[in-house]
């Protein structure tokens, strides 16, 4: 009798635990519950923006604090025919177009970018997966480009179109104007005092310190100014956001 009840109790417990996990998985798929889970992102964004200084600088480290290696992640080589040709030519004809809601659409070559006032920063790269690496990034502050092209009324987001693909989807990311005009937001062409390697986004990648790694778009070839995230991709503001439920707000 007691054996039966013990077995019953144990199987109830196992069923209960299994039921909880299955229940959570069902909630994970339920549209109404997903709305609650996705509302958490809005709350975190609102809370952090309200509580913290929008111009606060990410910590900058000393040269000896750097990681021995800067781990690459995501695309390590776009390997398209077009990219391979650019790579073979040392990115001499690579252009970064700046267009959309700007007064003067422009296109910047790498030498042109390098001729503008540069900023170097030794910062920590935090991947959404959990790891961190510290490296020195050198590049052109994005706000120099936006000051030259000028923003039209209604400009709210900056889109970074990239040369790499995940399956048939081109990588892209978006940031708002708070981050676009932040002094540490740079188009980096140097890593640890050397030209940016292919695996880290050559010839130019975005550094948007205060955000997780997936915001830092690599292989940037077009910068578009838009008024609404709905205008690009599937409307959630990035490849990972569109296809894999990642938060648009990557500050947490």
């Amino acid at each position: 009798m007691s054996l039966v009840t013990r077995r019953a109790a144990l199987s109830t417990l196992a069923l209960g635990a299994g039921g909880l996990v299955a229940g959570c998985d069902r909630l994970n798929e339920s549209p109404a519950f997903r709305k609650i889970l996705f509302a958490g992102e809005e709350m975190n964004l609102g809370f952090q923006r309200a509580l913290t200084d929008r111009d606060a600088l990410a910590r900058e480290y000393a040269p000896e604090d750097r990681s021995p290696t800067m781990r690459p992640n995501g695309t390590r080589d776009p390997a398209t025919a077009r990219y391979n040709a650019h790579r073979a030519a040392g990115f001499a004809t690579w252009r970064i177009a700046v267009d959309g809601l700007v007064h003067r659409p422009m296109s910047f070559s790498i030498p042109h970018l390098r001729s503008l006032p540069a900023r170097a920063q030794i910062t920590r790269h935090d991947c959404v997966e959990g790891w961190s690496a510290i490296a020195k990034w050198t590049g052109t502050p994005l706000r120099h480009l936006l000051d030259v092209t000028g923003l039209k009324d209604g400009a709210r987001f900056i889109v970074f179109q990239c040369a790499d693909y995940f399956g048939s989807n081109r990588y892209y990311e978006t940031i708002d104007l708070i981050d676009a005009f932040h002094p540490q937001t740079i188009l980096a062409w140097g890593l640890n005092d050397r030209p940016l390697p292919v695996e880290n986004g050559a010839p130019v990648r975005l550094r948007v310190e205060r955000h997780l790694g997936y915001k830092h778009a690599k292989y940037v070839e077009r910068i578009q100014v838009i008024d609404d995230l709905a205008r690009v991709g599937l409307g959630r503001g990035g490849f990972w956001e569109d296809h894999h439920d990642y938060d648009w707000y990557a500050g947490i």
Partner: protein, 276 residues
């Protein structure tokens, strides 16, 4: 209730837990359950822990869960523990072998989904953090902390703690003259959880946010860097698991029906045993 005299055989109930304590307890059951299981899924994305500011695959990890071609393992420092079937390498409900740190039955969601695990974690974090804050405020106002959780100097003398350990071994948890009072080990563990583990788990969680680090760089100094904060976050989570296991075990030993009633209604049956 006072009007009807209780039968002599039925011991009188005493009011043990205030409403705010009871609400916080059950909110935490939900919040901690979700935080732990979604946290394990997030850990699965990079099952390695480091000390300092940085740490990635090429750097030394003081803790790692992984798998060789055939075996799952947990490595702490230079100690490697085989964990095939539970950690690192296990089989899912359909019999597929999976090489991943924590098994599906322990994570939310049960399959690998970093983005959704983060959404669960960072949404339920509000319940955990603001639940703690409101409970702390309420417990200051209703004097729960002062009355029930203040540790007196004589309570932390070695002799007193030893006596309390012996009383626990005999399953005597409460002084019959003061059935409402927490015993010393109970007080110490609750104080450690409420004032150390939960605040540290919340602050180390914030330290993993790059935006919070920019705004509040003292977080990085307090915990010795982002990767140290991540390690401490994990250690605190492990401490919470140990606390919950002991807590549930003691509830079962002390009489689960009475303990559940007191945490749901507030009313508890005092112990019958004689003064130790």
């Amino acid at each position: 209730m006072d009007e009807t005299p209780a039968p002599a055989a039925k011991p009188r109930l005493v009011y043990r837990h205030r409403l705010t304590t009871r609400i916080w307890h059950w909110v935490n059951v939900l919040a901690v359950f979700v935080m732990l299981m979604s946290g394990l899924m997030i850990f699965n994305a990079h099952p390695r822990l480091y000390w300092g500011e940085y740490g990635a695959n090429a750097d030394y990890a003081w803790l790692q869960i992984g798998a060789t071609r055939t075996e799952g393992y947990l490595r702490v420092g230079s100690l490697e523990i085989p964990t095939t079937g539970v950690l690192g390498r296990w089989s899912d409900g359909e019999g597929n072998i999976v090489n991943r740190a924590f098994p599906g039955w322990a994570t939310i969601p049960s399959g690998y989904d970093l983005a959704m695990a983060r959404r669960w974690h960072l949404t339920f974090a509000w319940l955990l953090a603001f639940g703690l804050l409101l409970y702390m405020l309420a417990s200051l106002i209703n004097r729960h902390f002062k009355r029930d959780l203040t540790i007196r100097r004589d309570e932390v003398r070695a002799r007193h703690i030893w006596a309390d350990i012996k009383a626990h071994a005999r399953l005597r948890f409460h002084h019959p003259d003061r059935p409402n009072a927490y015993n010393t080990l109970q007080k110490l563990s609750y104080v450690a959880i409420i004032f150390v583990v939960l605040p540290v788990v919340i602050l180390t969680g914030l330290t993993m946010s790059p935006n919070m680090d920019a705004a509040w760089p003292w977080l990085l100094d307090l915990f010795g860097g982002r990767q140290s904060a991540r390690s401490i976050h994990f250690i605190c989570a492990a401490a919470l698991v140990v606390f919950i296991a002991v807590h549930v075990l003691l509830v079962v030993l002390a009489g689960p029906v009475n303990e559940m009633r007191s945490m749901i209604t507030g009313w508890s049956k005092p112990p019958k045993e004689p003064t130790p």
